[in-house]
Every structure is written in C-alpha cells, then in structure tokens.
C-alpha cells in the first residue's frame, strides 16, 4: 500500500451487519446511525489514524470495512 496515497474508508454494505467495532476504534471518523450502521464522512484518513484504521479493517467481524485509495469506482 502506497503510504503517500490518501486512504479512504470503503464499506461493503452487503456484508456490514452493524457490529460497530469500527466506530469504537475510529471514533473521530466513524459514528453509528440509529440502526447501528457506520456513518463515514468520506474524507481521507489522516496519517496518525491510519494504524487504527487498518486495525478496524482487520478486526471487522465480517471484513466489510476496507481502506482504499479511492472510495468509489
């Protein structure tokens, strides 16, 4: 993964079940809506949060959250 390319959070909505771990690991970037699903602002993740963002991606019980260079095709 190129360190210089800004990373954005990409969510596979067909997999997301609202476990909510991502919101706990990245409270400054992810909150939960009234149904328990993540609200992401779409902004690139700042370098100081990248490590926690990677952890959110690997800890997601259904691997719905990924870090990508661009969020949408």
């Amino acid at each position: 993964m190129d360190q210089k390319t800004p990373q954005k959070i990409d969510i596979d909505w067909t997999s997301c079940q609202g476990h909510g771990l991502c919101a706990e690991l990245l409270p400054d970037h992810i909150t939960l809506d009234e149904w328990g699903y993540p609200l992401v602002d779409g902004a690139p993740i700042p370098p100081r949060a990248i490590k926690r963002a990677r952890r959110a991606a690997s800890d997601c019980p259904v691997l719905a959250l990924k870090l990508r260079a661009r969020a949408t095709p």
């Binding site: 476990h19 771990l21 690997s58 691997l63």
Partner: protein, 193 residues
C-alpha cells in the same frame, strides 16, 4: 518426568481444553449475535474470542505433547495428525485427531482471514461446530476420568452451555432471515395505524 505425572497432566490439560474451547465457542456466538459483554467495548468480545482461542490452542499443544512424550502408551506424532492409525485406542484417539485437524483448519483460515476473504473464511469457520463435539466425544470415550463426578459435572455443563448458545444462534439467524423489506414494511405500517 514420571509416566504417571505425564498421564495426569495429560488428563488435566484435556479438561482445561474442554473448558477453554467451550468458552471460545460461546464467545464466537456472542460475536455473531453482536452481544456486548459487561464492562467491555465491542471489540473486546472479538479480541477475547481470538485471544482465548490461541490460549486454548496452546493448552491443546501441551495436551498432545504429553500424550506423545509419555512412554506408557504408544502415541506417536503421526497419530496426532493422522486419525485412527494409533496403537492405543485408535478410535477414541482418532476422534481427538479429527477434532485437532478441524480446529487447525479453523485456526489457519482465521489467521489468513484478510487474504482469503470473508465468504471463504466463514464457510470454513463452521467446522468449529464440528470440531467441538468430536473433541468432546474423544474426551468421554478415551478419558479415564469418565464416570467421576467432577468430570461428569463439567462435561454436562459445557454441553448445556454450547447447546443453549447454538440454539440462540440458530434462532437469531432465523429471525434475521425473516427481516425482509416486506416484513419491515408491515411493521412500519402497523406502527402507524
């Protein structure tokens, strides 16, 4: 180390494995049900499940090591991975080997989760539900503590816990699959009238 001590240690680690893997299964179901354990954040449930599964695996390694090292009965390293070929109690020991093989599949795929993708991982993770009862029956069949009060008590508790949790898991999955757009529409329209 005397053979007798090794033998007792083997039985002890076996019992510990039963308890640990039972808790691991319960925690796995808790993750699936999105249960929050008191005092822990959500990622705590997942982390506890993973950490404990590694601890349980460590105890399992000990359990197997002692059985192999102990010279009183002939159990070789091969018998630990290839089922039903041992000299000693080939059937009951073989079940233990089967349980180990299944559990190794679960463990390895979990360590490689991000590489293999969620769908493949989940299909293989269901083998955990096969591994646990096989291990239990191995313990009952081969265990020389079978029949003692404490072992019976322990076994019954673990079975009851897993059966109950599995039942909750199935009920939860059934409820989830009934949550269709049509069902939610009916609920919303019912609430408004």
């Amino acid at each position: 180390m005397s053979s007798e001590i090794l033998w007792y240690a083997n039985r002890a680690t076996g019992a510990v494995c039963l308890v640990l893997f039972t808790v691991v299964v319960l925690l796995g179901i808790a993750v699936r049900l999105r249960t929050r354990l008191p005092g822990l954040p959500r990622f705590g449930t997942v982390n506890l499940h993973r950490t404990l599964s590694l601890s349980a695996t460590a105890f399992l390694a000990l359990h197997i090591a002692m059985a192999v090292i102990d010279g009183y009965v002939n159990i070789t390293v091969v018998d630990a991975v290839v089922p039903f070929v041992s000299d000693y109690e080939p059937f009951w020991l073989g079940l233990g080997t089967v349980a180990l093989d299944l559990m190794l599949a679960v463990l390895v795929t979990s360590l490689l989760r991000e590489r293999i993708g969620h769908r493949t991982w989940r299909a293989l993770h269901w083998l955990a539900y096969a591994s646990w009862p096989v291990a239990l029956i191995h313990g009952i069949g081969i265990g020389t503590d079978t029949g003692t009060d404490w072992m019976t008590w322990l076994t019954v508790s673990c079975v009851a816990a897993v059966v109950a949790a599995f039942g909750i898991h199935l009920a939860h999955s059934a409820r989830e699959s009934r949550r269709t757009p049509a069902a939610l529409l009916r609920t919303a329209e019912g609430a408004r009238s």
